[in-house]
Point group: C2
Chain length 590, copies 2
């Protein structure tokens, strides 16, 4: 059996049942995303991921990257695999056809990102970072910049990197110190050090286009004085061919807990004359541009949580299907450990969380597509508000569940799970970055509480709750899911009550609301993802007929509602009563 | 500041408030364990752990062990540190004074084990395994065996290893294949392969005494046909000096996720003429002896969860006290990230879980001491039942929380947490073994449900609930903890209700009870540990006066009750409603 088999059937089903694939294909510009085409694309991607990317995953983890004299060598096979990825057109899926992209909806792009990251998260990070850079350019590049960079970055022959963090400026980008001085010819000379730069240097592509945040000499202090620059490794000539090497270098790479095959670089800009830099958009608006791009980047990181969970589940299920140990309570002597109720519980927890994450991710991606392409402005605005609301939930909840599922995957293997050769441990290590980067999950919770809830006084959340409630009323008394209807109804009510509660809390005492932002986000995650899983299960017989697939989907939804949804009670209790004791603790006692 | 400072004040406080140190010191044989002596011992241990063991922790993780031609080299400094540990008498604390032990109570021994494992879990595993071997001998060794092995093992000049697992026999020890044939002179010749043997080979000590499970030729099939053997690396001569090398060798060591400085060995016994082996106790009773020893071993592994949590908390708190990033909601510009409510919440979660684990561990250790030494037989039996009930809870709940706290420790560090050099990642890797070894946490949950609850029809649990309820009635209306009284009362009621529920469930359908064993154990863990933390907080002013210590303890208990105890609601919901959906899932759909 292949090490990883893309769950094409479940992805396609979730796209139809939750993202509304048919309606998306009816949006302007997305006409090619018919279910048949989407299925063909997913199958092709699954094949490539399973045959080319997945077998490199453990190899890359063991070998890691090597640094020498400013160059970075990725593990054997990675550069070739990346080039096949780019040559296959996979890098171009989501982008503007004017520059060689395929203009596919984000729902499909997100589904593909799931597959790449399941197969090989360390490798998939390179296109993920390039995607951010492409969007920055699409958003606010000049016509010249677009013409020079977009076709090559979309083709994947040049890659992108995002340079935000400095040692003293992580979450607080306002304290960035890198500086860019006008050179008098419309370009700039940039100096500064950046850390944690994913694929800041590598051997995949002929050029790397760095997007760098820095201050202009006249910049106001803080976050309103940051500008965004293009700083290419090799300066393109007028014809687009590679010119001289720019004044920038990779100084070192980090030794990390996981994603070892992806280089995490310390980058030095302008150690000599200053790195030649080109401003993107207007001065001082760099952070603003970053925040606009962030929805897609955060969605992509949330997807990584889903991806690792899927991979960990496949590995654990394969082991539990084959390992024989002890006589299960059902008396099936010689039966594999799958028969033990506690092992089955672990596997089902992994599976139910994974499928619920897939629902949440593709629901958000569908909203993103509607926000971009819906012909009706009200619909666009409604879906933009929904996307904005969902993004921090997708990012934080899915990445937390990714770690949890990877850890369960180790547990299913028993002692073998702790041995690196088994492979389960790599997922546990790789998964752990996702709750941290692209804004820690604490930042996501604060973003949800502040910008996404308090700022619009809960309007987007109320609209979402209204949408989820429709699922409750669709569960008829004869439904196979009728037993979970009251559980879902109670969970949605809990979300509604707690939303009202934190809206009041936020007005009264912002600190208290921020002190319960994390459990509030966790509450949102479990209720929304669980409701969407039930929604999909309700459509399973219609979409898949009397198949084993439909039966399993319904059983998974029932498991979720009785074994995972109860977590909503815990989170709700913390939201309601936990803030004051957090704030009351004497700071000098830590 | 030292990398690790033993929390002597909190350990001593918890020993007094929860374990009942004074009453333990009044038990026969424990007269030396006065509070003053205990404090002096803890301080001395803290000094040794902080100065000698803790600085080696990261070094050992990076270097790992090296295997060559049957020998294992531990990382530089480890062997010398172990010898200082043994020379300091630390190995002898808990054991029989007749053989050179110090006969101290398990409450103190457990407190010391916390310190050793916080400082250096990989090193501390060696004495932990030796402890198991010593107990096996104390329990059922012949006078000759005791005279030969005990003084040296208690002194730590010889170490012990426990050889249970074989590739096909992990959880199910009944399927062990290693065989021992009588040699005609009262000894045996043992052949077989054992895996996952911690400190099966190393360079700490002049001899290693392997305790090996194997079958005699006439053994009944399954778990009732396993015998226990001593198989020393070097065969002792009559005068106790080292004789010839035995026919056994370490074949390889594993590459693991964590605890890299501790060798995990594949051991081959009897590749040539058969390893010379000495039976311990009676034939075919090996598993029974193992189960008797298991209480202490599982307690010790539970302690590792506590230990890693304490170390991770100290590291995260130190970082949060010094790292400045962003302006917190309290407006304290230039203040460290400790001021951000969400960071504080993470730190308090780590702290509250750690202190609650300490309560649970020392409460169980106190019960163990009473079970062994109480002059009144009824008290001994009552405490033995309590110990038996608590052990799986301590083992599973504390090790799961250890992983959780270590993961939070990474999160507090942001991006730095993912960089190995920071140190937080090691705790996350090291912690992950504890839910697996010494019986996976799934096995603990099944043990709790079956042997500890259903078998005695919940009597021990009811007695425990009665004891915990006393704490509720001690919270007066004027108490600083009065606000959490209803929360604690509701949590204990939940435990009582769910206990009755699973007792009925177990009679009706054992599989269903086993399918909810894990959430039932989690419910027990959070309710019992939380109740004990409140119990200790109620005594804080009495024991520590109007100190900052008492104020922090009370604030921590309040945090636990409002931010962690709500998890009881979730677990209770799963216990009540989760079993059927787990069992209903079609097995062929995995």
């Amino acid at each position: 059996m292949a090490e990883y088999q893309a769950p094409v059937a479940d992805i396609l089903f979730t796209l139809e049942a939750v993202a509304g694939l048919e309606a998306i294909a009816a949006l302007p510009g997305y006409g090619e995303a018919t279910p048949d085409t989407v299925q063909a694309v997913l199958e092709e991607a699954g094949k490539f991921a399973g045959e080319v990317l997945a077998p490199l995953n453990a190899i890359g983890d063991r070998a890691g990257c090597r640094y020498a004299n400013g160059t970075v060598s990725t593990p054997e096979g990675f550069a070739a695999a990346y080039r096949r990825f780019a040559e296959g057109g996979w890098n171009a899926i989501a982008f503007d056809p004017e520059y060689g992209g395929q203009g596919m909806p984000w729902a499909l792009t997100s589904a593909l990102q799931e597959i790449w990251n399941s197969a090989n998260m360390a490798l998939a990070l390179c296109p993920l970072l390039t995607q951010g850079a492409i969007e920055a350019l699409q958003l606010c590049g000049t016509a010249d910049q677009k013409r020079t960079y977009l076709p090559r970055m979309i083709a994947g022959t040049w890659t992108g990197s995002m340079n935000l963090t400095e040692p003293q400026a992580g979450t607080d980008l306002g304290s960035i110190r890198s500086r860019a001085e006008p050179a008098g010819d419309g370009t700039y000379r940039l100096k500064g050090q950046k850390i944690f730069i994913t694929y800041g240097e590598h051997d995949f592509a002929e050029n790397i286009v760095h997007f760098v945040l820095a201050r202009l000499p006249d910049a106001p202090a803080g976050s309103k004085g940051i500008s965004l620059f293009i700083v290419p490794k090799y300066l393109p000539k007028a014809d687009g061919s590679l010119g001289p090497r720019n004044d920038l270098r990779c100084v070192s790479i980090e030794h990390k807990l996981g994603i070892n095959a992806s280089p995490t670089c310390v980058m030095a800009y302008g150690d000599n004359e200053g790195a030649k830099a080109f401003i993107v958009g207007e001065p001082h608006r760099g952070l603003e541009y970053m925040f606009i791009m962030m929805n897609n980047a955060r969605l992509a990181v949330g997807i990584q949580g889903l991806s690792i969970a899927e991979r960990a589940y496949q590995r654990a299920a394969a082991y539990a299907r084959s390992r024989v140990q002890g006589v299960p309570a059902d008396g099936a002597k010689g039966a594999p450990i799958l028969h033990h109720p506690d092992v089955r519980r672990n596997l089902l927890t992994m599976r139910a969380l994974t499928e619920a994450m897939r629902c949440l991710v593709l629901y958000a991606a569908g909203a993103l597509d509607r926000a971009k392409q819906h012909p009706d402005k009200t619909e666009r605005m409604k879906n933009q508000a929904l996307t904005d609301l969902l993004i921090p939930i997708v990012k934080a909840w899915c990445t937390d569940q990714g770690v949890r599922v990877a850890s369960l995957g180790i547990q299913v293997h028993g002692g073998l799970g702790f041995i690196e050769q088994t492979g389960a441990a790599q997922h546990y290590r790789d998964a752990r970055i996702a709750p941290i980067y692209e804004g820690t999950n604490g930042i996501q919770a604060i973003d949800l509480m502040g910008r996404k809830l308090l700022r619009d006084e809960g309007r987007a959340m109320k609209a979402l709750i209204h949408d989820l409630s429709a699922t409750v009323s669709q569960i008829g008394p004869e439904s196979e899911l009728s037993a979970v209807r009251p559980i879902l109804e109670a969970a949605i009510n809990l979300l509604e009550t707690n939303t009202s509660q934190v809206l009041l809390m936020g007005k009264r005492d912002l600190s208290e609301a921020l002190a319960v932002a994390t459990p509030f986000l966790a509450l949102c995650g479990v209720v929304i993802a669980g409701a969407l899983l039930v929604r999909s299960a309700l459509l399973a017989r219609t979409i898949s007929g009397e198949s084993g697939f439909a039966a399993a989907k319904i059983a998974t939804a029932r498991f979720f509602m009785t074994n995972i949804m109860p977590e909503a009670l815990a989170q709700s209790g913390m939201v309601g009563g936990g803030g004051a004791s957090t704030l009351a603790f004497p700071l000098d006692a830590f």
